[in-house]
Amino acid sequence: MPKITIDGKELEFKQGQTIIQAAADYGIDIPHFCYHPKLSISGNCRICLVEVERMPKLVIACATLASDGMVVHTNSEKTIAARNAVMEFILINHPLDCPICDEAGECKLQDYAYQHSTGESRFVEEKVHKDKRVQLGPHVMFDGERCISCSRCIRFCDEIAKDSELTFVQRGDRVTITTFPGEQLDNPYSMNVVDICPVGALTNSDFRFKARVWDMSLTNSICTGCSRGCNIEIWVRNNEILRLTPRHNEEVNSYWMCDHGRLNTFKFVNASDRIDCPQLRLNGSLKKVEWDEAFSFLSNKLKQFSKNEIAVIGSAYSTCEDNYIVSKFAKNTLGTYNVDFIRHIDPSFADDILRTEDLTPNSRGAELVGVFPEKNGLDLNGIVRSIKDGKIKALYLIEDDILSFDPILEEYLKKLELFVIHTSNYNRSCDYADVILPAATYAEKNGTFVNIQGRVQRIRPAVATTELDRSLDGMSLSRLDKFGTSFDRWAQGKKYDAKSTWKILTNLSSYFGQKYKYQSSEDVFMDITRNISEFNGLDYESIGLLGKELSFDKVKI
């Protein structure tokens, strides 16, 4: 293998790598603005200048191919001087906007100004003024003065979103970004430009001015928008989710996520229609009750039906752990094999980048852990048909809206003798429910999802419920979470009285005289790994941050 020497260290590299890539493989970070590992090289910011022995001038590390025997200095006097000069040059026309800029705290220019600049400006003339607050598309705001013309956003649209919408116009210090005539920055992946913009020139309109980044906690999780299961970070302040950002996972979503996932999969967690405690329908109207009362009412009711009169519908929105217990509860506790879940398929959502036609995060997982009919049990269509025929008298629905599957069911739901629903938010099915149990959302529990590639990935609680304590339960803590008391208004974020479905069902099972010994979702998962061959040998730790492929090659017996 060819070798390159960077700062005195001799490193092997792959033919065709540039200096910056060869260095990055060994954790050596050469400053860069315009270079992005997933975009073409444009080499226009010049911050990556390095000294290469026997080359007359400094070269840019992002566009210079590494070659055998090359000797590179990334911190020599000459390199540092050049870097200072480039920083000074970029800062000439950069406004002093940090106090009003959403990027502050996660801005490459800010960081580099600390690390690689002299901290003094010799420029006393008037800075060039450009348009500020330009809405480039429905979700992205542009500030011309802050742009450092790195062209990352242009290249992203051309190369990743495959929808050329942005371009440079003008020259010299007047150069700026704009959309092509008649176009908007509105491709389904448009908001990724906010993440890759090294400065605050492109910002998220939805998150605009909501919070400073240093006041939020972030939790590694998985997007629930479709079955791709993009890896994300959930940003929370005062127990409220304020934004989602993609997290790098080369096997799944690389550095990206789609706008639908980013915008539409978290607001329900703090929405006003959250179900906050168990509710029973007594004499036609819903009444709020304690969990115990709900459980004893529900278990008494359920015991009145014969096995064939009950159907259980699991959920592709909830975790493998939840669905595993759903299937156990149905088949062992209730004794019914009428078990299935609702598939939410929309072919128009799919594309050949990330989005898939399955709009749920865990349909493969639900199926794998046993949410399917067995021994002549009814599948979903069968269940719906039998509800209409009146053969199914009790329906147990987990985290879904059955009316979204078949709106005509409405009048038949009224005829059900018992309709139980676990849900986090109010949905139309609730209007017909006899028992509503508040389910924790994906942002309030531990668990796993299996994505379209058959990769099992973990979600973690980012928002506390009444039974979760941020520090005792190992959730991530922001500075404010660490020091807030119940007297601080900024630490009184709403906590909902909701539980994971697996926990609700194990509690309910005890009213049927069945004891499950699970203490945590991890216990449930360990049980899955012992009983379901595809999961053999896995545990939460080995799934880690990036997930693990399930083993499908094993023959199922």
Partner: protein, 169 residues
């Protein structure tokens, strides 16, 4: 124990005749009292009479209100970040004005504030300054949380401090 007794004995022995008869000592003490009674006073008849502190004084932090009636603050949150007592809560929002953002909510918990002045020091806009107000008394926790209504003070009333800051900060 023996040591203490010894020293006590010793001390007794040390007293001179004049000290032992005590009267001159009383006269000495009273003359000091008399002298101070005639000197200029440092105490005040508070609250009838009020102490007006110098510009360097750090009373409760207040927000500068421009002559237009708008706050100077751009809700950058730096004061909230630097505050060692976590006394400040700022929520930004968008405004049509040129500076783009303003504090929709700005609250200082006066029970947390330790009057360190770091908020004033860090503010990039000279929007929060330490005032001369030291009269802070509350009967419950909620009253101690000052919102914009109590925090905003016209810039003209704060000139003293602002000039001090420009000179020494």
């Amino acid at each position: 124990m023996t040591q203490i007794n010894n020293s006590l004995k010793k001390r007794k022995k040390d007293l001179t005749f004049w000290q032992r008869i005590y009267i001159p000592e009383i006269i000495k003490g009273l003359s000091l009292t008399m002298k101070n009674m005639l000197r200029p006073k440092f105490t005040m008849e508070y609250p009838e009479e009020k102490f007006i502190p110098p510009a360097s004084y750090r009373g409760r932090p207040v927000l500068v209100m421009e002559r237009s009636g708008d706050e100077r603050c751009v809700a950058c949150g730096l004061c909230s970040r630097v505050c060692p007592a976590l006394a400040i809560e700022v929520q930004a929002a968008e405004t049509e004005r040129e500076k783009e953002r303003y504090p929709e909510k700005f609250e200082i918990n006066m029970l947390r504030c330790i009057f360190c002045g770091l908020c004033e020091e860090v503010c990039p806009e000279e929007a929060i300054v330490m005032s001369k107000d030291y009269e802070l008394a509350f009967t419950n926790r909620d009253d101690a949380i000052y919102g914009k209504d109590k925090l905003l003070v016209p810039v003209d009333q704060l000139q003293d401090r602002i000039e001090f800051l420009r000179k020494y900060k």
